[in-house]
Amino acid sequence: MLGLLGVLAGCQEAEDEVSVRSENVGFAAEQTEKVEVEVNVKAAVPAPAGNPINASARTGIKPESLKIPAIGVNTSVQHLGTTENGEMAVPDDIDEVSWFSPGYQPGQNGRAVIAGHVDGIDGPAVFWDLSELQPGDEITVEGEGRQLIYKVHTMESVPLDEADVPNIFGYSSSPELVLITCSGTYDFSRGTREERLVVYASYVGE
């Protein structure tokens, strides 16, 4: 009987891979070096040539697909809002991702947020390798005939209770893309993982 207990105890050492993979992840790209930033400069054009106020806001897209070559992601993007309890909704399909459609559009100033599962009941899901991303990795979002390119600059794994939701989904004066998946150890009392992996990328062009 003791032998049997020992075997069962041994099972406890089986690794929770998501937890292990998201341990000690996170970076913020060094920004003390020169980075090229686009700045809007009004060309010297005679006044009536156009209405500059109409050109002041960036237009975004409703995203249709998401590609992250560095981790082999190429998937379609659903448009979802919130669940009944007010959380950002995610697809039932573990191979697809969702854009938070009441929020900012990709390409518009502000943080456009796309979420995907890290795992399904039987194994890895679309954002299984999100924690493997490195600064500078490219992300492409397509929609409405446009292809927007972003570069990863920051990754953090934030405890659920400390996640600054209004900031993660908030305004920025340039287009940003935020990718979210689950990370950390599994909390049985809450029925979800304790942390969220949040990846930030800056718009670099089309």
Binding site: L4, S56, S173, C182
Partner: protein
């Protein structure tokens, strides 16, 4: 020519004093720097002695930078000039509060360069549009901004000044900049003011070449109450105690049965 904005690449050197990353928390303020001096060369901007922006030309804006709340020494140099404390063309202490946003415009002609600072709005009533104007044309008289053939929206804007915001219904307006006597200075017909958007419209350059620099201060969008639940799997590690407890109970139960049978025998 449809697009009157040219995208010019500008080397932006984020200094050590700038807050890096995305932690725009309760200790930071947003600051946007605008070059609005018509005859000044491109400039470098130093914050607390560190290069923050390089080679900013006339009519360019930096977008919002996150800076720690507090008082900062901001000094402007003609691009290419070596930094020497106090030797810049313009210097001021900028006091900024956490959670607020500011526009800092370098205005007036180069021989009389001055900072014009305004606090920016980061909110708008849902469905409405919000706008203010800035008079940054050093030799232009006081102006009104209003509907062509209609009421003024902003009256008596004078250099150097930035008005308070006004909220309007979103929509398309035929606006103009005009003298108080009604003489048109600059037409702004078909101005589309989008819902949930905050604008700053600055009149820049000298009066004979007056033009508008339009910036978006803020755009509102929805936010959820909580983060998504993005994992369906339940790790085996956490299931083990239940298996263990279940198996142990089963063993004891089985053992109990054996013992009981023995006693019964």
């Amino acid at each position: 020519m449809k697009k009157i904005f040219a995208l010019i690449s500008l080397a932006l050197l984020l200094a050590m004093t700038l807050v890096t990353g995305v932690s725009a928390d309760s200790h930071t303020a947003k600051v946007r720097i605008v070059h609005a001096s018509p005859d000044a060369p491109a400039v470098d901007v130093y914050v607390n002695g560190d290069a923050a922006l390089e080679n900013v030309p006339f009519k360019a804006d930096s977008g919002y930078l996150d800076l720690p709340a507090g008082t900062h020494d901001v000094e402007v140099f003609a691009t290419g000039t070596a930094y020497e404390e106090g030797a810049g063309v313009l210097r001021a202490d900028l006091a900024i509060e956490a959670g607020k946003a500011y526009t800092v415009a370098a205005a007036n002609t180069v021989d009389a360069l001055e900072f014009v600072v305004a606090e920016d709005s980061m909110e708008v009533t849902e469905g409405k549009t919000k706008i203010r104007v800035g008079h940054l044309s050093p030799d232009a008289p006081a102006v009104d901004v209003g509907l062509i053939g209609g009421d003024a929206v902003f009256s008596g804007a004078e250099f150097p000044g930035i008005t308070d915001y006004t909220e309007l219904d979103a929509g398309t307006y035929d606006l103009e900049i005009r003298l108080p006597d009604g003489t048109q200075v600059l037409p702004l017909e078909g101005t589309e003011l989008a819902a949930d958007t905050v604008y700053s419209v600055f009149a820049v350059n000298t009066v004979d070449a007056i033009e508008v620099l339009a910036l978006v201060d803020y755009e509102a969008a929805g936010s959820p109450d909580g983060m998504p639940t993005t994992g369906l799997g339940t790790p085996s590690q956490e299931q083990t105690p239940w298996l263990l407890i279940g198996a142990t109970l089963a063993l004891f139960a089985a053992g109990g049965l054996v013992w009981r049978r023995r006693f019964q025998e």
